[in-house]
Symmetry: C2
Subunit: 356 residues, 2 copies
């Protein structure tokens, strides 16, 4: 198959978006798109290119003082009667248009057309972001080739509709168990009801006042919620155990250890078992490359509320943020689309920043 | 097969207990024992005998002012390496010895040997008490032959270890649902947590002060307990629904309607759906036959705490109580046994009462 990512296509990030969408690449089926992307990058002549699985890394080696990463995933969620792409007025419709082939197109366009950026740039095009973490290309190379990620600053081209979303909150899940003593409900006074005891756990959650924390101009709202509850033995038995699963979302000024200490304080006196935890990521906007990026974008940054792959950079000490032309509200939707203007704006902004 | 319930056996309630235990009669397999019992009753000559399925009714028709019922179930739970019967000192071991072939033996002994009681007596030997209510012989004849149950007073020969357990509490189960609005836990302030809202339900249950009610000298302790709780959508979602199942045990001075009104009052403001309900039974010890029975027994009555078949009589307006030689703590146990002295005492007491 001839590579559809021709030189004519590469110079236009809008045409490139369509061409990338029209190469199907549902998670675990990214070989063809990775072949096409690696081929383009190798042909540029100004990039060093490496590949692991269907994750492709390309970088300039110009001896600049600073290095930045532009990263995007190549995969999409399953097709949902929305492939191949179509254009209606100034919108491109199709699976992956927003999440995130328009972002990949902007990065690939710059990789192909900007041989002499003001920073050294590492481009990362990775596989399997939409599925379990064990397949995630960025996660895999963070383990096997951490030098690919080494940089002073990273931009992930996830859909943000042109807004800068910086850092991310941490998340911790824990089981809070209450205990009692079984008895027949006709003789309930002989037992101790563990579900009743969970009332105090729920009262503390209901009374909890989450912090709002502003870091580098980004405001993070914490939260502590019961997400599941279960208990009970039979319809005529005073239950001897109840379990409440709680989810703490914590601002990135707390480490996981500090978050756990906070959780233990709130639920003091209860049996608590952490089942899942991931650290937050500080926005890190004081890095010089980050400040220059924000100047180029010209819009105040906002806190990223969910957990995203920027945390994988943060875990390596690299400030990272999300910035992309797609609309996050349209990700995974059957009518997914992207505005052509957003693609052009995003490409122009990143070019302005990287050209220096 | 020759009927093992011979005249020699029928005159001795202890021998009769052993003979009845040695006719296997696990629930749904009561044909042989019902055949033997019906045959004995028909041979007496002083009883009118009828049968439906494996439930046998026999009654005197002496034109007495009052009629009393003696009732017992013929079935047992499954054999558990405890069949046939064995005798060790003054104990008879075996499946059904306490629950309740010793009680059945006392009633069958009286039916066979007391042709001229002071009250008209209806003897009911019924099937399938140990399994689902739809098979319960007493429940079935209450529907198909309610005249078999008609009486001024009833004694159920369930194991009470010679104590009189009168009336029984009612029971009502209800689902209490709380509602909220889903949101991602990273943006929890956009949602309303239904599990947190259930905290108030549990607080009211924890604070609930159950009544203690004394009727006819029997003390009933009410109770209101959460028996099950469930809620939750996913580990990262503020849940929009939680359900608490509660079980109210109410003294027999409340009707089901009154119990429901009480439950609605305690849980005012919450969405409540009754899923199961059974009325209590007043002890009804002021009926003349009941007072004479208590005099014969000579021990103060106690409240029955669980729900038993006496409620089926109460539903027909017939005062009923539990009184039998078996030990309720041994029912369904592998080492189930009955004291020979309890059988003789029970038979003597009932004879004294019925002979007048």
């Amino acid at each position: 198959m001839a590579n559809p990512l021709t030189p004519d296509v590469l110079v236009d990030p809008v045409e490139l978006t369509r061409a990338l969408v029209d190469i199907r690449s549902v998670s675990r089926d990214e070989k063809v798109i990775a072949d096409c992307v690696a081929d383009v990058l190798r042909r540029t002549g100004h990039l060093t290119v490496e590949r692991v699985g269907n994750t492709v890394m390309a970088r300039t080696e110009l001896g600049r003082d600073q290095r930045v990463v532009l990263a995007g995933h190549l995969d999409t969620v399953p097709i949902n009667d929305n492939w191949p792409s179509t254009v209606v007025d100034d919108l491109i419709y199709g699976c992956g248009t927003s999440d995130m082939k328009s972002g990949v197109a902007v990065a690939l366009h710059l990789a192909a057309t900007l041989p002499d950026p003001a920073y050294d740039v590492t481009y990362l095009f990775y596989e399997a972001e939409e599925i379990e973490s064990e397949y995630n290309g960025l996660n895999l190379v963070a383990g096997s080739h951490p030098e690919w990620l080494r940089a002073d600053f990273a931009v992930l081209l996830e859909p943000t509709y042109g807004v800068v979303e910086a850092g991310c909150q941490g998340t911790m899940r824990a089981l809070v168990r209450t205990h009692g003593r079984r008895a027949h409900t006709a003789r309930a006074w002989r037992g101790v009801n563990a579900i009743h005891a969970a009332g105090e756990v729920l009262r503390r959650l209901e009374d909890y006042h989450p912090r709002t924390v502003t870091i580098d101009g980004c405001t993070y709202r914490e939260g502590l919620n019961a997400v599941r509850i279960s208990g009970g033995v039979a319809g005529n038995v005073v239950p001897d155990e109840c379990a409440v699963e709680v989810n703490l979302r914590f601002a990135p000024d707390r480490s996981e250890q500090q978050a756990l200490a906070h959780l233990r304080e709130v639920l003091d006196g209860f049996d608590l078992e952490v089942t899942d935890s991931a650290p937050g990521a500080l926005p890190g906007l004081s890095a010089p490359a980050a400040r220059e990026f924000l100047t180029a974008v010209g819009v105040a940054p906002a806190a990223k509320l969910g957990w995203t792959d920027v945390s994988r950079f943060a875990a390596l000490g690299i400030p990272a943020l999300n910035y992309g032309p797609g609309d996050p509200a349209l990700a995974h939707a059957p009518d997914e689309h992207v505005e052509i203007g957003q693609i052009r704006d995003g490409a122009a902004t990143l070019h302005r920043w990287l050209a220096g």
